[in-house]
Symmetry: C2
Subunit: 234 residues, 2 copies
């Protein structure tokens, strides 16, 4: 004899594993499951929590639960082209410029980009979407002494990463990868504040000159990074 | 005029930034702060939450709050030697074998290690500590057809990673890096279940033969990974 929450869980799992509910399919809302099974919200939650823990569904704030899609994999040793990666998966890519300011660098920004006090930067915040859902929050700084032409670019239609790759040559980059709670990025990424996110920070050089620093925050279940290597490489 | 929780927060922040409370220093427990400031648990929480969000303190389940220590950085393109990294930071390294079983591989394990049904593996779970606190949970599988000598090794004193590096040659490895909530690993890592963790999965080959698969789970605030690269590398 299984309890009701185990039965609800098994029903949903069967539909996912059989393919009846494909990746991205919306799981019935909590109130719909409560009505269908004549049970409490707590029972529904006990059914959904292990499915989320197993990575079969993704629970988004407000928007409800969805059948998980496979993660997008990026190579660690490359500057990822997010639009290309999303499109390659057959999903619609979306881009939105949330803020833009050409201004003097703050102290920590000047340190990061090795600028003198008061050095000018272009600071932008952008949201990338995959299949309509938030996929990455981009916090971008471009040194306007290293890439002055950036100030005249209309970044409302063109994402800074793609523009930089095609317009500003680079010779070296450094990635720093960490795991954080969504925190302040939660609202923009439609996540709970404690949701685990993968943060990819990248600093890019041309020779000795620092061109740009970017911090990309991805929902943990949407993205991972891979690298192949041999002894003594890297 | 600042409110009480802002004053508590500022007091703690001053002690951390002045160095009076060094990294690893234990922040007074909630009930001690409640007594010191004559305030409620909610006020203490409002003071501590932004300090944790800013990365100045780390809040551990049961154990209380501690002044944050800098993260350990590992190169992405290397098999990290955890003991060496912890020791290099001047901290005591601790290791504990939690479980060990030589047995037939489960279906997913056989797939991961490219073993025939019933192929034998050595499955281990280990905990690594830095300065007494949990630093990494290791879930290790060794193929006993690729490395039969592993079955006779006493892994209660020797961590599998260090033993493999010195006893079993390898030619290629693949890393997969992702961010997850601690979930089932929370208890062993002294974290809340929703705490963000960095997961480093590695598969290691000798020629065409798969030797070992390991899943390392690090508390997000304790560890990150870095990689430097140039265009077309990797």
């Amino acid at each position: 004899m299984s309890s009701l929450h185990q039965r609800i869980r098994a029903d949903i799992q069967d539909r996912i594993l059989s393919g009846a509910w494909p990746p991205g399919h919306r799981v019935p809302a909590e109130h719909e499951l409560m009505a269908e099974y004549g049970c409490s919200r707590m029972t529904v939650n006990k059914a959904l929590a292990p499915l989320a823990e197993a990575g079969l569904i993704v629970r988004l704030r407000r928007a409800g639960s969805f059948v998980a899609r496979p993660r997008i994999h990026s190579a660690v040793l490359d500057i990822p082209d997010i639009q290309a990666e999303v499109t390659a998966r057959g999903e619609t890519y979306g881009y939105e410029l949330l803020s833009r300011a050409a201004r003097a660098a703050k102290a920590d920004e000047a340190r990061a980009l090795d600028l003198p006090p008061g050095g000018r930067v272009l600071a932008m915040t952008c949201l990338h979407r995959a299949a309509g859902q938030p996929f990455a929050l981009e916090e971008r700084l471009i040194s306007l002494s290293a890439a002055p032409e950036a100030e005249a670019v209309d970044f409302t239609m063109t994402a800074p990463g793609g523009w930089l790759l095609t317009h500003v040559p680079w010779t070296e980059a450094e990635h720093r990868i960490s795991a954080v709670s969504a925190g302040k990025a939660a609202r923009l990424l439609s996540l709970e504040p404690e949701a685990a996110c993968l943060v990819l920070e990248r600093l890019t050089w041309r020779g000795e000159v620092r061109i740009t620093h970017v911090r990309m925050t991805f929902p943990g279940e949407a993205y991972d990074l891979t690298a192949r290597f041999s002894p003594r490489s890297g």
